[in-house]
């Protein structure tokens, strides 16, 4: 049982949606800006995250007996740089209005006006992770972003520097990457 894989951490929050607010919440989530403009970009250390409205359970047919939710649920999952505590602070801090609007559709959300209660709310509605797998468990987000950019730069440099003599190669390297 582990929420950790290397330094990476998994968070799953499953909170019941206020009756009648499911459609509003869906519209809100689907209308959020994506990519770098997503509110999740403001929670530092978030590699991947999602919000999913669970309207109902899927019936598999016999021999399963019918099993229904009486309320729709909002599922939030995040894959982020651990540990959990400061990450929850970020969710209840920099994400600000968006977080309030989203979890505000859930039963009993205390609001970010009371960050300690908001954190406690997320923790109370959290699921334990049974198994967590990470492709590069030791790499923190800033390191990943820096590496991706460096890879591009080195590739461009390597293409351009082919066939250069020793002196001009060293010069070109210094111009691109600095150094002595």
């Amino acid at each position: 049982m582990s929420d950790r894989a290397g330094q990476a951490c998994a968070l799953t929050v499953l909170a019941p949606i206020e009756r009648g607010r499911q459609d509003l919440l869906r519209t809100l989530l689907q209308g959020l800006p994506t990519g770098a403009e997503s509110p999740l970009a403001r929670a530092p250390g978030t590699h991947f995250a999602r919000w999913v409205v669970v309207p109902q359970l899927v019936y598999q047919g016999p021999p399963q007996k019918r099993d229904e939710l009486d309320l729709a649920y909002l599922m939030f999952t995040s894959n982020f740089d651990g540990p959990l505590e400061p990450y929850l602070d970020a969710l209840c801090g920099p994400m600000g209005e968006a977080a309030d609007a989203i979890w505000g559709c859930c039963i009993g959300w205390p609001g970010l006006g009371d960050p300690a209660s908001a954190k406690a709310y997320l923790l109370r509605n959290r699921l334990a992770t049974s198994l967590f797998v990470a492709g590069y468990p030791q790499a923190r987000l800033p390191e990943v972003l820096r590496a991706l950019e460096l890879r591009e730069r080195v590739t461009r440099f390597a293409i351009g520097a082919q066939g250069q003599g020793a002196e001009s190669l060293a010069l070109a390297w210094r111009q691109e990457f600095g150094g002595p």
Binding site: M1, S2, A8, A10, T12, V13, L14, A15, P16, R26, Q30, T34, G35, H47, F48, R50, V52, L57, V58, Q60, Q64, K65, D67, L69, L71, Y73, M75, N79, C106, I107, G108, Y121, N125, L127, A128, S130, L131, F132, V133, A134, G135, Y136, A139, E143, V144, L145, R146, A147, L148, L150, R151, T155, A158, A166, L169, A170, W173, F177, G179, P180
Partner: protein, 186 residues
């Protein structure tokens, strides 16, 4: 509604667990985290950024109440962030780790087995939840690209240290060593 963000794809599957299985599932997951060899194949496939399994107990979370309604079954949640096509992902799962798939989803109602793959795909499709908002911090990169980039960064640091003070032919030789080392990651 999108389960795609750049090259990243998301799967969220919630499936009812047969009574009697859950305890065993917990044990299985415990073994999974400790016996890394059972995950090595998945990692070797190297198209999963992050994936998790979690059990939703019969009493669902209740918001500000202690607990929600008691459901008839426990549920197995599978959440994955990967790259490549959906079909390719499921194919690879089925072909490469069928035993593991059987162990994990074998406890769920309606699971047809990992092979043949078409019924398994239909099962996942049926139980997959549509995603309302999906975020990736590096949507342009696949898992292998991230791993490659980290390799380049590591080799870069060591080249910088190694080439300090080198000039002319010595620098060039050192650079060529660096390039030889990272060529497959560019």
């Amino acid at each position: 509604m999108s389960n795609v963000e750049g090259k990243a794809r998301a799967i969220t599957v919630l499936s009812p667990v047969r009574p009697g299985w859950p305890l065993w599932l917990h044990g299985l997951f415990f073994a999974g985290t400790h016996l890394t060899f059972s995950l090595k194949k998945l990692q070797q496939l190297s198209f999963i950024h992050y994936a998790r399994w979690a059990i939703v107990e019969r009493r669902w979370p209740g918001g500000d109440r202690p607990r929600g309604k008691r459901q008839r079954y426990r549920y197995l949640l599978f959440e994955s962030n990967f790259n490549g096509s959906w079909d390719e992902y499921i194919d690879a799962f089925s072909e490469v780790v069928p035993t593991r798939m059987r162990l994990i989803w074998g406890s769920s109602y309606g699971f047809p087995g990992p092979l043949p793959v078409e019924p398994f795909k239909a099962y996942i499709r049926k139980n997959e939840l549509p995603i309302d908002h999906y975020y990736s911090a590096y949507p342009a990169a696949t898992t292998t690209e991230v791993i490659s980039a980290l390799e380049v960064a590591r080799a870069f640091e060591s080249f910088i240290a190694r080439s300090r003070g080198l000039a002319g032919a010595d620098f060039k030789r050192s650079y060529e060593d660096f390039l030889f080392e990272v060529q497959h990651h560019l």
